[in-house]
């Protein structure tokens, strides 16, 4: 392992290289652009044996990556904001065809250049798994793990790995880059299924290729077990795990309340939690890493252990509310003793989220846990 100072986009490109991606397809869009540049540097220098296919837009990018995956190549795609939205329709096909495409989504919100999670969350119904990373190390590790999970015969579902544009894409920090052999041992070559060679192809079975809704839904839900397994194995081999692969609990022991955060806000929240714990306040952090499939069981357990949960959403489903807030409330509904669930919309359109902001949200959640009146229940930071 070597420690290299790199930006988030280089970590993503390096993960694709280490995963021995054979076909990469992308259309450049800020703040994803430099992933495309790094990939092409790796390819021209001979470090990476990969076909990079230039396309005229993201819709084509998704169709080409899908086709390459179908004919047996390990594939990588990357996008941001408007580009991510532009590929919506073929994303449904990629997942319905059960193709293990892995795509980095460098968040750029839907109202301008600045980052929030609305780009990827707009795809919540496409049948892609959605994972969110909080630092450049996690970007690299998560993409490598994504191939293992996506290509597992029990899963075969594409994965989008989201990380905040600018805040990570262009921020440089040390990343532990694993050796190629270690990654090779962890990630065996991709085997397409079914074969599309004429001698194997049974045209009558083509219907199978479009997974029916119920089966498709169950396949994604069942992927949770595989995600946990792969995360555990990754942790054993590389010495870095991410909670149970779905959620990561930080200083939650004896907590009366927890705040839940995703992506870089979770990273900032760690410092806020340390400060509050130093003051003796019993509050912890839950990092929501995997939004789809949603970890209902984990939130039921956490919900039964604390008296209040404060969800910080870097998104809003307009007219509905915070995506994760809504899901967490739904998860704890069946509990005999439900915690109070507070919502916060923070960091939308790239608005800076400071350590002190998280402290304030956490303290409000702790107040709610102690039965004090808090209002409003959902707050815009």
């Amino acid at each position: 392992m070597t420690l290299e100072v790199m930006v988030g986009n280089k970590a993503a490109a390096t993960a694709a290289k280490l995963s021995r991606v054979q076909v990469a397809v992308a259309f450049p869009v800020t703040p994803q652009t430099t992933i495309v540049e790094y990939l092409n540097e790796f390819i021209t220098s001979g470090e990476m044996d990969c076909e990079f296919i230039n396309v005229e837009g993201e819709l084509t990018a998704q169709v080409v990556v899908q086709t390459a995956s179908r004919v047996g190549a390990r594939t990588f795609c990357c996008t941001s904001g408007p580009g991510c939205l532009y590929m919506h329709h073929p994303m449904h096909d990629t997942s319905s065809l059960r193709l293990p495409v892995v795509m980095a989504v460098v968040h750029r919100g839907n109202k301008g250049m600045q980052p929030d999670h609305t780009d990827l969350m707009s795809h919540i119904m496409t049948g892609w798994m959605q994972w969110y990373a909080e630092n450049n190390q996690e970007v690299l590790d998560t993409i490598v793990m994504a191939y293992r999970v996506a290509e597992d015969m029990r899963v075969r579902i594409p994965v989008a790995v989201g990380y905040d544009g600018y805040i990570l894409s262009y921020t440089a920090e040390p990343v532990d880059v694993p050796e190629q052999e270690e990654v090779d041992d962890f990630l065996p070559p991709y085997k397409p299924k079914p074969s599309i060679m004429p001698e194997d192809l049974d045209l009558r079975r083509l219907r199978w290729w479009r997974t029916p809704w119920e089966e498709h839904h169950k396949a994604i839900v069942e992927a949770k077990e595989v995600i946990k397994e792969v995360n555990e194995e990754f942790a054993k081999r590389f010495g870095r795990g991410y909670g149970n692969g779905l959620v990561e609990e930080y200083r939650c022991e004896d907590a009366e309340a927890v705040v839940v955060a995703m992506g870089t806000i979770a990273s900032t929240a760690r410092d806020a939690i340390d400060r509050l714990r130093a003051e003796g306040k019993p509050i912890g952090l839950v990092k929501l890493k995997c939004l789809v499939p949603f970890p209902y069981e984990e939130f039921q357990r956490i919900g039964s252990e604390v008296d209040a949960v404060g969800m910080i959403d870097r998104n809003v489903c307009l007219g509905v509310g915070g995506v994760a807030y809504t899901l967490i409330r739904s998860a704890v509904y069946d509990l005999e003793e439900r915690p109070r669930v507070l919502g916060f919309h923070a960091g939308l359109a790239g608005k800076e989220v400071k350590v002190s902001d998280v402290e304030r949200m956490a303290e409000k959640t702790l107040k709610a846990a102690r039965g004090e009146r808090v209002s409003p229940l959902v707050e815009w930071i």
């Binding site: 420690l3 100072v5 703040p31 250049m113 600045q114 980052p115 630092n135 905040d164 600018y166 805040i167 990570l168 262009y170 921020t171 440089a172 920090e173 040390p174 870089t264 806000i265 990273s267 900032t268 760690r270 410092d271 790239g350 608005k351 800076e352 989220v353 400071k354 350590v355």
Partner: protein, 258 residues
Amino acid sequence: MTASRLIAEAVAQEGRYAQAIPMYGTERRGAPVTAYVRIDGRPVRRRDLVHEPDIVIVIDPILSGKPSVAAGLKSGGLLLLNLPKPPEEVEIGGDFLISTVDATTIALETLRRPITNTAILGAFSKVTGIAKLESLKEAILHRFPGEIGERNVEALRRAYKEVYPPKPAKGPLRPGEEEPPHVTGYGVLKSVADWRVFKPVVDLDRCISCRFCWIYCPETAISLVDEKPVIDYDKCKGCGICVHECPVKAIELMRETL
């Protein structure tokens, strides 16, 4: 930006953690940008920007004279400026130290271009000791192999030798008594006026009210009053597109005065 990454790479070689955060916006090439660096013995986790720095480094010689660059600087902190005069002659004052180096001259003599971000690092190394000269040299050579790298190392070494040691800031001008400098960022900018080297000025008599400048200005800095263009200079970044588009050459670029 390059300077912030080089610092991060240098301290990482010395076994510490660093985070180098550049700020991006709708830039214009050559416009000053802000970058932040956090250095710690353990991984840096917070992802907000640095509002109360221990050290402020100003690479741009024009901004170096503005007291607002020290806004937020911690008491007892250090302000390192690219200026061709000793700290005693700097007009800025406050509860901090000032150190200066003529990075522009050093860059012109070593790189033959006014690119000052490696020179300033030599001064940074000397006055703070946070990154060793040797590790900065390694970081530079890794990034710029060959002759360019060697010349940058030369700039680094010269600034290390020529920097004026820190002195208490005793000048009459205090930070906070004027608007903070407007450098690019991904938040909302109040003004991009500081980016301008040239300023577009409209000759209203010549203008035929064709509205070309109004439609082409990428910053929507131009509005029409009685069918004539009025430029909001807080929004104008001095790109010169309006000048280029005007069919009757009614807009001229004038050099900004300091």
